[in-house]
Symmetry: C2
Subunit: 202 residues, 2 copies
């Protein structure tokens, strides 16, 4: 059942209608991927939830992997814009800014839900892991790496991210106690110096 006409040619339809439809598809994609995980979500299901034809989803985004990446980018938007702020301050406190920023996204239930959906998909599916890898490496860490000016900056940034993401997983997903109930500022006070050491210690 076609509820939206499928454009004959690639190319942008007039701005407003196009943007509305794209946003509706992305919102449905986020919901479907969150609820079912990457493997069990289909382009057909996303299209149905958005009230459009599957061909329109393919037209705007391409493959299921590309829809997933676009949906993650939207969910990650706060996480992908803030690294500018993380990178912008003095180098001697970059560890605290990065720690505060990532744990802050996890601490907020509204932003935690899509992150958790992404993490679940990435742990369960190789394609979703590849998308997660691209986003973390190229979007989140690249700006931190650029600030470091060290030959092993990438490895440093990844080990720093491992500490923060590992802490988030133990606190918010596995819920180990006393970590899960500890005050966020106490956690940041312990994790930030470690992250700083990974990033800048000779």
């Amino acid at each position: 059942m076609t509820t939206q006409p499928v454009p004959r040619r690639r190319g942008r339809p007039p701005r407003t209608e196009s943007a509305d439809t794209r946003d509706r598809i992305l919102a449905s994609a986020r919901e479907e991927f969150s609820a079912r995980g990457y493997e069990k979500t289909s382009v057909r299901g996303i299209a149905k939830a958005a009230g459009v034809d599957s061909a329109l989803v393919h037209h705007y985004f391409g493959t299921k992997e590309q829809v997933f990446e676009a949906a993650i980018e939207v969910a990650f938007a706060p996480a992908l814009n803030a690294p500018n702020a993380v990178a912008a301050g003095p180098l001697e406190s970059v560890g605290e800014r990065l720690t505060r920023f990532i744990l802050g996204v996890w601490e907020n239930p509204a932003t935690r839900a899509p992150l958790l959906a992404i993490l679940r998909s990435a742990v369960n599916n190789e394609t979703a892991a590849a998308v997660f890898r691209r986003l973390v490496a190229t979007q989140l860490l690249r700006r931190v790496v650029a600030q470091l000016d060290l030959p092993d900056a990438e490895l440093r940034a990844e080990l720093a991210a491992a500490q923060i993401v590992g802490t988030a997983m133990m606190r918010y997903v596995i819920k180990l106690e006393p970590l899960a109930s500890a005050d966020l500022e106490q956690i940041i006070a312990r994790v930030a110096p470690v992250v700083q050491a990974h990033l800048t210690q000779p």
Copy 2:
């Protein structure tokens, strides 16, 4: 279809037969949980794969959660015995021993597979997360904590574990580069001092 008689009363059948049947059920449970994850695995499916009646699985292990815990304990056996060795050395190198031990279990494909299955189940299912939490907290970290003799030893051990498990996830599951291809000794050399600092730094 009953292929094994169901014991009338609780209590151990003669040693050899009982141990063989238990082991066969556990092996089937490990395979089923690894292949399908916690949610999609059923006691009936485990029983069928082991060639026994479901009632016998319940008799030996109890609920599905308890079968899962027993299967994890077997898969974790190297990880659960070694903490004695981790705890046994001098305190100033406990960080390196813990790091080397956990990353060593992940580095070996034979022990990585069941760990990955457990991690996937724990990230996707609250009951599996609770089992993972109990095992990590009570079996793996308790012996490290006992060695520390500090009031905040548990939180320290959990943040240390977060660094190591986060590193394992980024290296073996998400496969971030250059971390995924880096030499294991290089990773240990960078992670161990951080783990040591979490555990013992004032």
